[in-house]
Subunit: 87 residues, 2 copies
């Protein structure tokens, strides 16, 4: 049986990993990213990468899993901001 506290961690990991998706959708919809901060997405991406390294060292599959997803989804925002909808 999975412990209740691990369910909270699972939900938290899900939100962390997928939090950048609405931002991607928003940029595509408004067709610009002027107010979106590249710095924030560099830092988020850096955090996902460091958590991935942390998860690999600790052998924690769930940390590895969520952060691989987070890197891919977070990179999408950064690519749109820096290369597609440049200011």
């Amino acid at each position: 049986m999975i412990e209740p506290v691990e369910l909270i961690g699972l939900a938290a990991g899900f939100l962390t990993a997928f939090s950048t998706v609405p931002q991607s959708i928003r940029i595509i919809r408004v067709r610009q990213a002027a107010a979106v901060s590249a710095g924030t997405y560099f830092m988020l991406l850096g955090s996902y990468i460091l958590w991935l390294v942390y998860g690999i060292i600790q052998g924690a599959i769930s940390i590895i899993f969520w952060n691989v997803i987070g890197i891919i989804l977070g990179a999408a925002v950064l690519i749109m901001k820096l290369f597609i909808w440049k200011d």
Copy 2:
């Protein structure tokens, strides 16, 4: 002595907690937040709150510490987006 893996966790926690600061600065500088996604900040805020609960249950001071900071800084972006620089 602090273990190297804990230093990685510390750096990751720092980046996670402070990642929303450049976004706040950006909104103030460009004086609008049209392309910023409220959904992303609701999800980020939700993740900080769930990680805080997780940290409290586990008694993990560093998780509690970073996520209290994350909640405050993340809420700042959401407040600006929803109440100050409305579309």
